[in-house]
């Protein structure tokens, strides 16, 4: 796991920091484990496992009092908006958020806070349990967070959504996870054992204190399930904020939590219901399912050889049979998955992430060649691309639910995907289909009613064009950088030779030092070239493919529109026919015509509804895509710039070491 995250650009923020990840593993398991069991069976029995994990009191106990406090840290989070001092605070609000919801929630939430804080401390048991205001306040707070009550309920009625809901805020940032874990631990330990390691954390996070007093109240099970869940979710959110301070002090890498933070915050503030739902689902999937592809292995010999990849999944989702599992898949299996998904979902307007292209040339090289660097690079490139592809698939809320995806991840043996054979008959047919599609696309003149779509389609086309251009340039940079690296190596050798023939000792020494510096710089250029490629160029290649898929979505929508329009026309014709029959006075055929009209009327309504549905889906998909794109670019480009930064630091080091050598020439 850790190894894989080193080798490939980690698409999940938590894999960015392997250490932290390991650290959080138990915490994550423990935590999500609890939540799932809670949700599956509300009986007190099921809360045992967490009890074991946390030595003593189950976390529901805390969650309740914490939920009282949740209002407070939430306020904190809100208050942070203007302050750019903490990295996270700023990150949190980078997403375009509806200000209204924030404004609404923060003042109201503030009010109940003091009461809530004080009450449990004074009368821990009875007050919390007995007083209805507490729960109502909580409800209010929760409903504010999520926009409206209906929505809230919706979320909790559906089991899969509940699952998603819960770990969502806890899932994203690894930091949050570990923090939450430790904070949770604090509570029992503060009570039982004052000389505990985490005492300091307890101090920095004032929130848990009152909870300790009222912890027993929860065991009575007064609170309903959903409130409970809810409070937990918010607790995690809130714990986030005291952490800020500490984190700044400790100077823990802010980059790790940066990408995660917006997710946590946006879920509480998303302006519209759909958007918010989208984000919740999305963030959950993303962070509760960790997929890595490792160990590319050549299977077989000669032209029948193929590469098999190890697909490891780590998840806490209940839909899977276990938490970690591994299967071996070959490239065509990945393509097969894509085919299946496209068949099922693309007509609904879903954005199916496209897999990397088949490369006959590259693969042939791998098949034939032994161990040469270009084929190793090819395999690594494909491995990373497949990993990103799978991660994109599972991060799609609807695709994750697809049985084929589950099968792909879990099932030992998959039926061989046939239709993906390179240049097979099926492939040829597909190409033909695409060609006819393209022709029909040209002929369909859609009269676009929706301004949003009109603009978006235009934007996507422009963007794709520019990204292509950019991609070409980055590729050229990669090549030039490689060339530079090669030339630097040659120059280094040449300078070393020059140094050996120089008869002034000091100058000879300086020249051989220069050769060494150039040698190191060559390495640096080499590394930078691969960073250019894997971090920057591949990102662009991915998004060029993805934008193609987005256009595919638009095409699907257009097709649906076309169907609707055709049906309208047909209905029109039938009506005319009826009118003719009426006029011609042919009652025998009239009934048939009328039947047909009703039939077509039904079809028109159906197609219209379909079109509206697909429009809504596409719109949602595109919004989701835009968000992911922004996040991906942000993360990858920052990573890329960091690699550049590293290169420059190394350069400084090398030349710094060389300077005294040059000065020593006499």
């Amino acid at each position: 796991m850790a190894a894989s995250s080193e080798r490939s650009p980690p698409p999940f923020p938590d894999s960015e920091e392997p250490e932290l990840l390991e650290d959080s593993d138990e915490g994550a398991d423990a935590f999500t484990g609890t939540s799932i069991s809670e949700m599956d069976s509300p009986s007190p029995d099921s809360t045992r496992p967490p009890k074991d994990i946390f030595n003593e009191p189950p976390e529901d106990i805390f969650s309740d009092p914490l939920s009282n406090i949740n209002s407070e840290p939430q306020k904190k989070v809100d208050a942070k908006i203007p302050s750019p001092s903490s990295d996270e605070a700023v990150d949190l609000f980078s997403d375009p958020l509806d200000d209204d919801s924030e404004v609404m929630s923060s003042p109201e939430v503030q009010n109940p806070m003091p009461d809530l804080l004080n009450e449990p401390v004074e009368a821990p048991k009875s007050d919390v349990l007995g007083e209805p205001p507490v729960s109502s306040v909580k409800k209010a707070a929760s409903s504010e967070m999520f926009g409206d009550d209906d929505d809230d309920e919706d979320l909790f009625k559906e089991p899969p959504k509940v699952v998603t809901k819960k770990p969502q805020p806890s899932g994203p940032p690894v930091d949050v996870f570990t923090e939450v874990k430790s904070d949770v631990k604090v509570k029992p330990q503060v009570k039982d054992d004052p000389t505990d390691l985490f005492a300091e954390e307890a101090l920095t996070a004032p929130a848990p204190k009152p909870s300790a007093g009222s912890s027993s109240s929860r065991t009575n099970g007064v609170h309903s399930e959903e409130q409970d869940l809810f409070s937990e979710a918010t607790v995690e959110l809130s714990l986030d904020s005291p952490r800020n301070d500490r984190k700044n002090k400790d100077a823990v890498k802010p980059s790790v939590s940066a990408p995660a933070a917006p997710v946590a915050s946006s879920s509480s503030k998303a302006p519209s219901k759909t958007l918010k739902e989208l984000e919740e689902e999305e963030s959950e999937d993303k962070f509760d399912l960790n997929i890595s592809i490792t160990n590319p292995e050549k299977v077989g010999d000669g032209m029948n050889a193929y590469m098999a990849y190890k697909v490891s999944t780590q998840t806490s989702l209940t839909m899977f049979r276990s938490k970690t599992f591994t299967v071996r898949r070959r490239f065509s299996d990945f393509l097969g998955l894509f085919e299946k998904l496209s068949e099922k979902h693309s007509q609904n307007g879903y954005l199916i992430p496209p897999p990397p292209e088949k490369s006959i040339l590259g693969m042939t090289k791998v098949k034939v060649g032994k161990e040469d660097p270009s084929s190793a690079e090819f395999v690594e490139r494909r491995r990373a691309a497949l990993e990103r592809y799978l991660q994109r698939v599972v991060s799609h809320p609807s695709l994750l639910q697809d049985p084929d995806v589950r099968e792909f991840l879990e099932k030992e043996e998959l039926p061989r995907a046939v239709s993906t054979q390179a240049l097979s008959g099926a492939g040829f047919l597909k190409m033909l289909n695409k060609a006819t599609d393209a022709v029909s696309k040209m002929t369909i003149k859609m009269n676009e009613q929706d301004v949003w779509f009109d603009e978006k389609i235009q934007d996507v086309e422009n963007e794709e064009q520019h990204l292509r251009k950019l991609h070409v340039m980055v590729e050229s940079l990669v090549n030039h950088r490689k060339e530079l690296s090669g030339n630097t190596a040659v120059f280094a050798k040449s300078v070393a030779m020059l140094g050996s023939s120089e008869d002034n000792t000091a100058l000879s020494r300086a020249l051989s030092q220069l050769a060494e510096v150039e040698d190191r710089i060559e390495q640096l250029h080499q590394e930078q070239a691969s960073n250019d490629f894997f971090t920057f160029s591949e990102l662009l290649a991915d998004y060029i493919r993805l934008l193609g898929a987005v256009r595919g979505c638009f095409d699907q929508r257009m097709k649906a529109w076309q169907r609707w329009q055709d049906a309208e026309n047909m209905l029109q014709k039938k009506r005319e026919a009826e009118a003719k029959l009426l006029w011609a006075n042919k009652p025998d055929k009239l009934q048939q015509a009328k039947d047909e009209i009703t039939e077509w009327e039904a079809k028109v309504t159906q197609y219209e509804r379909e079109f509206e549905r697909i429009s809504a889906t596409v719109r949602k998909e595109v919004i989701r895509f835009d968000k992911e794109k922004a996040r991906d670019f942000n993360r990858q480009v920052i990573k890329y710039l960091e690699s550049l930064l590293h290169s420059q630091q190394q350069l400084i080091k090398y030349w710094d070491a060389f300077l005294p050598e040059a000065k020593a020439i006499v």
Binding site: D459, D626, L645
Partner: protein, 405 residues
Amino acid sequence: MMSNLDINFFFEDFRLNAYILNVDLQTDATLQVDISDALSERDKVKFTVHTKSTLPNFKQNEFSVVRQHEEFIWLHDSFVENEEYAGYIIPPSPPRPDFDASREKLQKLGEGEGSMTKEEFTKMKQELEAEYLAIFKKTVAMHEVFLCRVAAHPVLRKDLNFHVFLEYNQDLSVRGKNKKEKLEDFFKNVVKSADGVLVAGVKDVDDFFEHEKTFLLEYHNRVKDSSAKSDRMIRSHKSAADDINRIASTLYTLGTQDSTDLCKFFLKVSELFEKTRKIEARVAADEDLKLADLLKYYLRESQAAKDLLYRRGRALVDYENANKALDKARAKNKDVLQAETTQQVCCQKFEKISESAKQELIDFKTRRVAAFRKNLVELAELELKHAKGNLQLLQSCLGVLKGDT
């Protein structure tokens, strides 16, 4: 179109801050030469050679003349052809000004104007202008170095041709070599290099020269190799910088598509790349100036030193042949006097060359070490400066990106 692309416009009365690029030369107040001005015309560069001198054979203490590249070459050749100077390292002649590549690019840019945006065009143009300017400065510096070396040389500075070159304020009406002369030169070179191999094979009686000979032979080849390799390295560095430049402009266009957050992000990154590519291009230019030019200069200088050794070797072979001839003549007792005179002349010539050559070669080494020291130190300092500049840009940009995204 071509009028505003005319290369002359940005060199109108271009004043060059004279700088010595490669060699540390001890200057002496009695004769100081520099190039105070240079003017680039379509196919030639006019250098204004400025002289300050207290030597009595000049009419004035300070004067300037306008010279062209061909006149520099004439001066150099007159040194080489002068038997008197056979014992000295003749300062290498400056390379011909070569603006063809730059001009060609400019031409291409003019043709491609329609196919690019206005920003791209201005950017490309600025770049080419900068490139042209760099070549121009280098050309001027090379010519100046040649004059300074001559002026600092204890013997060559007294040369009459040199004084004419400095003082005569009319065109020297030297012409380029015609085809026949070029052919002659070519044959001369072939004969010389064949002879050089022959001469080099002769074992030297003097250990110092024997050592210098092997050293220079090897050194010259290696410095030639290094010079070519450094050129290639710098060229790919420049291409990489160009790529970054183009990436910056594409990111800019991406960023101006609309006003989403991602676009602001693109704009920011574009701005960063725009700045870093400037630094990257500076790195390449400085490597060119401090490293490649140094190597190139010593490629020519070591060639000049080799030539000196060849002349000495030739004189040695002549001397030995004259000895043999004298022995023969004595044995036959025929033409003894004539052989004796020849032997005397050869002996004198050889000894004279050996005497000055030793000092010249020692000086060459001192100059070389000093020049390498100066340039390598400057190179390291510039590399450090640029890397630090880059680092700072990246840090601040990362700060902004992490801060408000």
